[in-house]
Amino acid sequence: MVDHARAAEREWARHTPAQRRGRAVGMLLAALVLAWAWRRVAATTNWAFVLDAGVQLQDMGLRMFPPDSPYLVQLTRPVIDTLHIATLGTVLGVLMAIPLAFLAAGTTTPSRRVLRPAALLVLVTSRSVNSIIWALILVVLIGPGLLAGIMAIALRSVGFVGKLVYEAIEEAPELPVTALHTTGAGRAHALAFGLIPHVQPVMAGVSVYRWEINIREATILGIVGAGGLGMALQSSIDALAWSRVSVILGVILATVVVAEWVSARVRSRLA
């Protein structure tokens, strides 16, 4: 039978003392970092502004509503521009991404030492720099307008699409390609028939997904001058035409929602 005296003395703890110390130290460190970060932010904060934020919001709200509906017509061109920026940018980005993906994938790269790291570097750089920053750079280089926006979107999309595609390439089964090699097919043929059919759905799906994200980004690139709705927004804000700002925000929201819906439909058709 069970020894009650012995059982009553037994203690249980979820973590060993060593683990508890480790956890305590970890939490203390995290708390310290958080405390430092908060103080740093609070140091540059104008608390008077924070406190009257509610008033500011109310003020803006009053000025934004009722929205300036007639202005809606003037937004047709910017909306189309935004669409162009996103779509052409995505196409350009995908066209650049696909060869890069093949160079970056361990299984298909012709040169592991040189080309692969180079391709990976290009992809990571593209991913690290936000499209707005690309847009900023391009506006300086080639002037404001749609082209800057298109290129900015393209440059950002290369990394996103490229990464997902090269990961798909690396995860694709080797057997079909090997099998095709044994039938005497050249390298390109083997890839075309053994690998591409496998990777194609991913490429298509990722491209459409990136297009959807790009619509969202294209709507605001105009703030730095790269065309589209963002430019209308910036000029309305500068002119303090808040009732127009609310119209533009509504259009932006609608555009993004429609794009999301379209993207979801297309992607489910692809799957």
């Binding site: 069970v2 009650h4 059982a7 009553a8 037994r10 203690e11 249980w12 703890a13 979820r14």
Partner: protein, 269 residues
């Protein structure tokens, strides 16, 4: 008649989902202390639903359920929690928290009487901890208290679930298909264990079983459900083939009777 020492009284219980048919239709029965009742019936007859309705995991549509005199169907959230502490439920799929250790899972049985902060910091009442160790030893799981539950075998997980229910110090055990995926020897072992635990702890138990011979062997009283109603309530000796045919249908009875004859010859365990 409501005797003061009845553990469970079910009166006119009806459970219906939406506009569908009645899953349980005007059920009435009662259980006294130290009673082990086997619940049998075809799949879909409402056995699991009955267990869940007693716990109010499924809300009764009508009727009354009384646990040791307390009416359960009208309790508010706090009262229901208190009442549930006196009923231990053992689930068919064990329902353990996989990422937590065996000890943490067993101690879940004490959560009803542990404050949030103690539960968060895992500093349970030493009495509960000692009891948990005792139960683990009784289940043959000593030494496993710091293992994660997803590292255990099916049989071990089931026993953790049993320990968890017993830690509550319940008056009533509601057991849902304890032998569902077990072979005959293991089934007999688990039923023996449950019977012993009930006797040791003075508990009553309502056990949902699909295996009729097993129910006959271990349960002094059998309740048979057919299409949501009680088709039989009495000792196994009175459970005739006629009743079984009504409950299960003809071909099934042939199979059951055959297995039953085989089981009666099996003295080993």
């Amino acid at each position: 008649m409501s005797a003061p020492d009845l553990v469970l009284e079910v009166d006119g219980l009806v459970v219906r989902y939406g506009d569908g048919p009645d899953v349980l239709d005007d059920l009435s029965f009662s259980m006294g202390p130290r009673e082990i009742v086997g619940l049998i019936g075809a799949s879909g007859a409402g056995k699991s639903t009955l267990l869940r309705a007693v716990q109010r995991l499924v809300e009764p549509t009508a009727g009354s359920v009384r646990l040791a005199g307390t009416e359960l169907t009208t309790l508010g959230a706090g009262g229901l929690r208190d009442a549930r502490r006196h009923m231990g439920m053992i689930f068919q799929e064990h329902a353990l928290v996989d990422r937590l250790t065996v000890m943490e899972n067993v101690l879940c049985g004490a959560l009803g009487r542990t404050s949030f902060w103690r539960a968060l910091r895992r500093t349970f009442d030493p009495v509960d901890v000692a009891h948990a160790f005792e139960l683990l030893e009784r289940m043959g799981l000593s030494g496993l208290e710091d293992r994660r539950c997803d590292e255990l075998s099916g049989g071990q997980r089931q026993r953790v679930g049993i320990a968890r229910a017993l830690l509550q110090n319940p008056k009533l055990l509601l057991v849902d298909e304890p032998t569902a995926s077990l072979d005959p020897a293991a089934s007999a072992r688990i039923m023996t264990l449950i019977s012993e635990l009930c006797v040791e702890g003075g508990l009553s138990a309502l056990i949902n079983l699909h295996d009729v011979p097993l129910a006959r062997r271990f349960c002094p009283r059998i309740l048979a459900l057919h299409e949501g109603r009680i088709a039989f309530d009495g000792p196994p000796s009175e459970l005739t083939d006629a009743v079984l045919t009504e409950v299960y249908g003809e071909e099934a009875v042939e199979a059951h009777v055959a297995v039953g004859r085989g089981a009666k010859d099996d003295h080993g365990d």
